[in-house]
């Protein structure tokens, strides 16, 4: 009983540490950033924090013969494909494109942070 308690307490502390490290590394204020001002376009208000949005699954439309519905995008193994996954894929493809053209980035950490914010401000939280 005590063992289980200690293990779960250890896990919680570990997760908390990881969360704090992530915030420090990403250096992103967890407050909600409004979408960019888009001419003649109304954006929906932010309800999630940036951290929660990162963990939330990417959603897309799917249609059957009779109906259109929205689904959460998943990997083949059933795990959700989250917005964080999308950002990492986007970033890697962007870096590859730059390298192919003979360019390099000065400060990759800061660059990744700005790209993540750029995507966040152009994305919708859910459908």
């Amino acid at each position: 009983m005590l063992n289980t308690y200690l293990t779960s307490k250890g896990l919680i502390i570990k997760r908390l540490k990881i969360f704090i490290i992530k915030i420090i590394i990403m250096n992103i204020n967890t407050d909600r950033l409004e979408p960019y001002k888009i001419f003649n376009y109304i954006t929906s208000p932010r309800k999630m924090s940036y951290e929660n949005w990162l963990r939330s699954p990417v959603m897309e439309a799917a249609d059957t013969t009779d109906d259109v519905y929205f689904k959460k995008v998943c990997f083949k193994n059933g795990d959700y494909y989250t917005h964080k996954h999308f950002i990492l894929d986007f970033y890697q493809d962007l870096i590859d494109t730059l390298h192919q053209n003979g360019f390099n980035i000065q400060d990759e950490k800061e660059f990744k942070r700005e790209i993540a914010i750029f995507i966040y401000r152009l994305s919708r939280e859910r459908l």
Binding site: Y36, I38, E60, F90, T97, Q106, F118, L122, R124
Partner: protein, 158 residues
């Protein structure tokens, strides 16, 4: 007229051009080009030109491909950029973070471009000599203190 000057006098145009190219290649470093305002401007212009010609279009193409796919699937990422107007925002972020890696081969291919630097050649060499002298003197100063012993009686190093 010394031996080298005579040799230069005897060269035809092609030989003189090759001689000039090699001299520029061997003499100047990237720091030298960046220290002269005019050659620095040439390097910066070349970098920007390469970015405009190769970098920017490829980033725009990549972004628009990604955005179109997301719009087509009616997906949450990049949902609000319906027309692609934010590609310039992205290229702005990328350009701001690019490592400034200048290509000095432009001066090797066209030595005339290095003319403003060549005109400052004597000044640059003189500055390098002064810097060497200063660092040499500083080292000598250190050496005196390290190798010689200070005699407190006569107040001199021995």
């Amino acid at each position: 007229m010394n031996k080298e000057e005579t040799m230069i006098e005897m060269m035809n145009d092609e030989e003189f051009n090759t001689y000039k190219k090699n001299l520029i290649k061997e003499t100047f470093t990237e720091d030298d080009y960046l220290s002269c305002e005019k050659t620095r401007q040439i390097l910066e212009d070349e970098f920007f030109w390469k970015w405009e010609k190769k970098g920017e279009p490829s980033i725009e193409e990549f972004y628009n491909g990604m955005r179109t796919e997301m719009q087509g699937r009616y997906a949450t990422p990049l949902f609000y950029d319906t027309t692609g107007e934010f590609s310039s925002k992205l290229t702005g972020i990328v350009y701001k973070h690019l490592k400034r890696e200048y290509d000095i081969s432009v001066f090797h291919d066209c030595p005339d471009l290095a003319e403003p630097l060549v005109r400052k050649y004597d000044e640059i060499q003189e500055n390098k000599k002064i810097k060497n002298k200063i660092s040499h003197k500083v080292n000598e100063g250190v050496n005196i203190k390290v190798t010689k012993k200070f005699d407190w009686g006569t107040k001199t190093y021995k």
